[in-house]
Structure formats: structure tokens, C-alpha cells
Symmetry: none
Subunit: 216 residues, 4 copies
């Protein structure tokens, strides 16, 4: 782990504050002043580290994505089989969002519909992250574990779409502890998807009667 400079620490402190503030109100209704207050510094100081309010917003996911990507890759090395890996990915995403609700709120409720964000360097990082899913599906297709007439991009959309939908719903309710939490959807989602893409290549055990008619 690299040692952080003083400047980097202050920068992260501001990002942390922004994360809290933006996730609670939403970007447009949050003010720089709110963030500064949360960070315990002055408005002006924020501009020493970020060129604009939007720059600050776009800087939030940076580390999170890098972080999530590394964790996920680490885990995937321990898993064998495309199906198992897919489940691992689903688990990782749902639990990461669940454990980082503020990051989730900003990613899914603010940045997801921000056209400018898509031109960002950070967004490219996110693309790479999502690419892991494609790769895994293709791996399964090649190995014969998955059908070979599926569209990996479409399957990924289904996975991401469902995950995001579930997490957003949870966030909109206030990310409650007592209600159904995102991770509880890991297996329902995996099973649903897996049933739809796995190759039916094994013999199924089924009832069978064989009648021998002698004398023929």
C-alpha cells in the first residue's frame, strides 16, 4: 500500500464528506457549503483540491471502483467454473453496494444518468469492471458450461439491471436494516440467470419403464 501524502488525505476527507452529503440530499440540492461543513473545512478549501462541484462529484467513485475491481479479481481467482464465478460476481456487487450505501446512492442515482460522467476517465474504469462479467460469460460459453446461442452483453444487462433495480429500491426506502437486504437476492438472481443460460448437457434422472416383449 502506498503511503498517502497530506494532500491526498485532505482530498479523501473531502470526498468522504461529499459522499455523505450527496447521497443524502442528491447532487443538485447539495451545496458546496454542505460538503465543507461536513468536512469541517471552509468552502474555499474545496476548490484547492477540486476544480468544480462536478469535478468533486466525478471524483467520488474513483477509488471505490478501483477497490471493488481488485477485491472482485482476487476472489475470482479462487473460483472455478463460469457459473460459480458468475455467482461470485453477483454476490460481490450486491454486497459491495449494500456495505457502501452512500457510494451506491451516488453511482446508481446520480451518476448513472449523467451524460458528462460517461466521458470521464473514471467511467472507463467502470467499463473495465463490467467487462469482467462479459469475460466470464464468454468463458462459460467456450467451456460448454453455458449455451452458445446467448448474447453475453444482453445477459450482462440483465444481471446489472436487476442488481441496480434491487439496490435502488432498497436505497429509496432508506436502506433499511429490517427489510429485505440486497444480498438476499444473490441466489434468486443467480438461479434465474443460470437456469436461462446453462447448457442442458447432462442426462437428467427420470422415471423410465422398459418393456421387453418376447417372441418378436
Amino acid at each position: 500500500m502506498k503511503i498517502k501524502t497530506k494532500k491526498e488525505n485532505r482530498r479523501e476527507q473531502i470526498i468522504k464528506a461529499a459522499e455523505e452529503v450527496f447521497s443524502k440530499k442528491d447532487f443538485q440540492n447539495s451545496t458546496i457549503s454542505d460538503v465543507a461543513k461536513q468536512a469541517g473545512i471552509s468552502d474555499a478549501t474545496i476548490y484547492e483540491y477540486f476544480t468544480s462541484k462536478e469535478d468533486l462529484l466525478f471524483s467520488i467513485p474513483g477509488e471505490n471502483i478501483e477497490n471493488a475491481k481488485n477485491i472482485l479479481n482476487d476472489h475470482l481467482h479462487y473460483i472455478k467454473g463460469a457459473g460459480n464465478k458468475l455467482r461470485g460476481i453477483i454476490y460481490h456487487m450486491l454486497s459491495y453496494y449494500q456495505d457502501n450505501a452512500e457510494f451506491a446512492a451516488i453511482s446508481l442515482m446520480i451518476l448513472r444518468t449523467n451524460r458528462k460522467f460517461m466521458e470521464t476517465e473514471v467511467y472507463n474504469n467502470l467499463r473495465e469492471y463490467y467487462q469482467i462479467i462479459i469475460k466470464t460469460i464468454e468463458e462459460g460459453m467456450e467451456s460448454g458450461e453455458f449455451k452458445n446461442d446467448i448474447n453475453p452483453h444482453f445477459v450482462r444487462s440483465a444481471i446489472l439491471g436487476t442488481i441496480e433495480f434491487i439496490v435502488v429500491r432498497w436505497l429509496m426506502k432508506g436502506a433499511p436494516d429490517d427489510k429485505t437486504k440486497p444480498v438476499e437476492s444473490v441466489d434468486p438472481l443467480f438461479n434465474l440467470i443460470f437456469d436461462g443460460i446453462k447448457k442442458e448437457n447432462g442426462l437428467k434422472e427420470m422415471k423410465c419403464r422398459i418393456i421387453f416383449t418376447p417372441g418378436e
Copy 2:
């Protein structure tokens, strides 16, 4: 069809203008002035029909939802079988969003993360709409067409999540005519979901060799 009063026409004219404006910029960056200009009227006139900018925003989906709900119900009467109905619903939603891109943008990119909207009368209407999906899945479970260990709400989330994800992606690219359009995902989505929830109740035809080794 009832005849629209002058007032109703003007109201709709403003909503139409707002739909165009809000879908292009986004709510916070659109001004009442923009909407007024688009409608060819003065700013003040808007306030004769809506109490606030937010009221105007929340009024946009009203007729669309009512409309979509009616069309969908009409079609469903012609369709037999929960699976077929589910496909009908998926088709309807994807094509409705595709044909009403501005409405889609406002619904999926603005209202979907607006907490206040969820307390609206219009939102209740939307809930009813989504209830149709639940009802259809339950119908399939009861008739034995679908497995009986699935969670209808979860399946609905998967359907809605995937649809919304696909439409949002398409909108973010500028709703292009030349690229993959939402309706093209109808069958991939239906097949994926259907494979995951249908009951495997028939014998599958499969290759089989029986070898008799005489004399043992």
C-alpha cells in the same frame, strides 16, 4: 372520447413542452423559461396551470401511465397463458418506452430517484401498472405453467430492472435509430426469464443408446 376544454388543451401543450425540455437537459438544468419558450407562451402562464416547477414535472407521467395501462390490459385479453402474457408485457413496455423516448427519459432518469414523486397520486397509478406483472406471474404459478418456488416480486424486479437498464442505456446514447433498439431485447429477455421460471414438466427428447451384451 371526451372533448377537451380549452384549458385542458393548454395544459397538455405545456406538459408536452416540459416533456421535451426536461428529457433533453434534465430537470434541474431546465428552466421554466425553457419550457415556456418551447410551448410558445410566457413563463407566468405556466403557473396558471401548475403550482410549481415540480408539480409540472410530476404531471408528465400522468396521462402516459393511464394510457399505457389501458393499452396493455387491452392486449392481455387477447393472450392466453401466463408465459405468453409475460412476453406481451415485456414487449409492451419495451416498445412503449421506445416509442415515447421523452417519457422514458423522464420516468427512468428523473422520476425514478425522486423520493417526493413516490408520494404522488400518479405513482400509485404506476404501482397498479406494475401489479399486472405480479398478477401474471402468480397466474402462471397457479396454473402450473411456472415453478411454484419462485418469488413473483423478485421476478418482476428482474424484468423491470433489465428493461429499465436497457432503455436507459439506449437513451444515454441518444436513443439512436441505427443501433440496437429496445424492442430487439424482447425475446432475449423473455427467453432468459422464461427458462428460469417455467416448470420442466414434459419428458425431453434426447439421444439414447441401449446396448445389450449377450451371454453375460
Copy 3:
């Protein structure tokens, strides 16, 4: 009594409505729309009878003042003596304000500090009304009932100032029925003023001992 034309009736209806509205909110916070609603007519109709919102405001006291002036003059004819008349005036003003709280509110809380109103024809009428007080004081000075070193204008200011102060206080409290009402101040006020301006010309009854010392 002259017969009112239809037009005059409508005019009065609007004035009555304005009186209610303006006295409750205050002029600047009342809208033409409020008045129209109160009168049960449309905004535009008000402009058929009054040239502007201010014109409407200035028209409110018109009849009231004429009315009050007549009533007062009627009564004064029955009263003999400047002191008694002064008491009559004080009684009349306090009770008129008390019985017409809305008119009072508009006169004392809105018009009293309106410079434009002072250039109005109606204001001249008010001046005449106040002139009655001056005349009465002068009458008392001439008849010897009052001191001759008092300034009638100052005495009038004291009377009007006290009356207005008392009525405004009462109005600010919401013109309550249960608390001290303006008319209860008639005698305290009259006595205070009268003691200060009456000529001490009669012999007062007082204890007296006369001692005759015989033999002188």
C-alpha cells in the same frame, strides 16, 4: 336616502369585500384575486369599477367617513357644553372604531401612514371630521369652560393619538371580545383630558375653620 343604482351596489359590494380582505392580511399582502374571490366575482370585474388596487383601497373610507361625520353631528346637536361635547366625540370615535373594526384596521394601520392617501379627496373629508374637535375646543375656550392658554391642535392630537393607540392595540390583539374594549376607555380619556383643560373657576368645597376671637 337616495336610491342606489345597480352599478353603485356592485361597487359597494367590492368595497365591502376589500375591507374584509385588506383588514385581515394588510394591503400589500392582499391580492386583487383575494378581493375578487371574497366578492364572488372575477378579478377583471374589479377593474370595471376601480382604476387600480390603490384606487380601491382609497375608496374604502369614503362612505364610512361621511357616515361617521353625519352621525357625530347629529348627536352633538343634542349636547350642551364643550366638555360634554368633547366626551360625546370621544365616545363616538371609540365606539365607531369598535363597531367597525375592519374600517378601523384599514384607517389606522394602512392609510394612516400612506402619503398618497393624504393627497386624496377622501382625506379632505377626514380633515373636516377632525375639524369638529378643534371647533369644540375653541367653543369651550370662548365660553370660558376651558382654559384659554391651551393649544386646540395639540389637545386634538392628544385625543386622537390616544384613541388611535388604544384601538390599534386592540386590533393587534385580534379585536378580542373578552379583553378590554375601546369604549371602556371613554371616561378615563375624557377625564384625563378634561382635567387638563378645564378652567378651575368654581369654588371647591373644602374643609374650613373660621375662628372668631372675641374682644378684639
Copy 4:
């Protein structure tokens, strides 16, 4: 005297400007822009010091009242006797209003009829100020200098009402230098009130003829 911070100075500068502006036009017809221009700053700066236009209005009397209360109390210590003190109070109020015409205009023509102002902390301060009059009258009643059948609150109303009436009249004329100024009413007012409340406790010297008619 404590040293004023930069912020306090700026605050006072704005209040001073508001005082000038509001007293000339009147509150509703004055704009924040007018005040800002008068103060030589920008509109937005005003909102760094006051939360709203109304907050600015209500902040005007603050220091004045504190100030006036102190001056008055200082002087009263030098004066013996309730009557003399009463005269001192009357003098002080009339001269303070006269010397601070803008403050007078705002107090007597704007705030006096503002219901919200009455719920202000500043208004409580004003109440204390007025309490001094009550105390003085009670002092005179206890010492036997004043009659004991008078109502101190009523007498105060008469004093305040007369003072305010006189000052408002003067202000409405444009606070002219050449005409009768408020302080000239000090003695007329004091004499009028004092005559009405002092106890007639000494024998008055008066002409007297005693005629002895012998032989009866």
C-alpha cells in the same frame, strides 16, 4: 466600549442603509437591491448577514432600543419625583424620535402594525422600555404625588399615543425643520397629563369674600 469586528461593522452598515431606504419608501416598496445600492455592496452580501428581507427589517430597531433605554435610565437617575421623571421620559422620547427620524419612521410607520414583529426578541426589549413608564406612574401613585384612582396602563397609552401621533404627523410632512418639531410638544403634553393625574393636595389660594350681615 467593545471593539467592533469587521463583520459587525458591515452588519451595521447594512442596517444603516436599510434604515434610510425603508424610511423613505416604506418596507414593501423598498427592494433589497435598493438597500444594497445604498450600502454600496451587492445584493447577495446582504444575505450573508441577514436571513431575509424581513429579518433585516426587524434588526433595525435592535440597537436603537437598547441605546434609548440606556440613555433614558441614565437620565432618570438624576431626576427626583415621579412628575419630573415623567416629563423626562416624554422629553426623551420626543427628542429621540426627532433626532432619529429614520428610526422613528420605521418604528412608528412600519413595525407598529406588524404582527410578526410583536413575536420578536427585539419587541420584548421594547416592552421593557415601555415598562419604565408604568413604573414611574406607579411610583407617583405610591408616593402620593399622583392620584391613586388612575390606571397606569391607560395613562401610558395616552402618553405613547400622543407622542406617536405627533411624531407620525411630523414625519408625514417630511420631518421639516421649519415647522413645529416634536420636542416643542414636551411641555404641552406633560402639563396636560400631569394636570390630569396629580393629586390636589394643597389648599389653593383663591379670592374670598366673607360678608357679615349684622342684625339677623
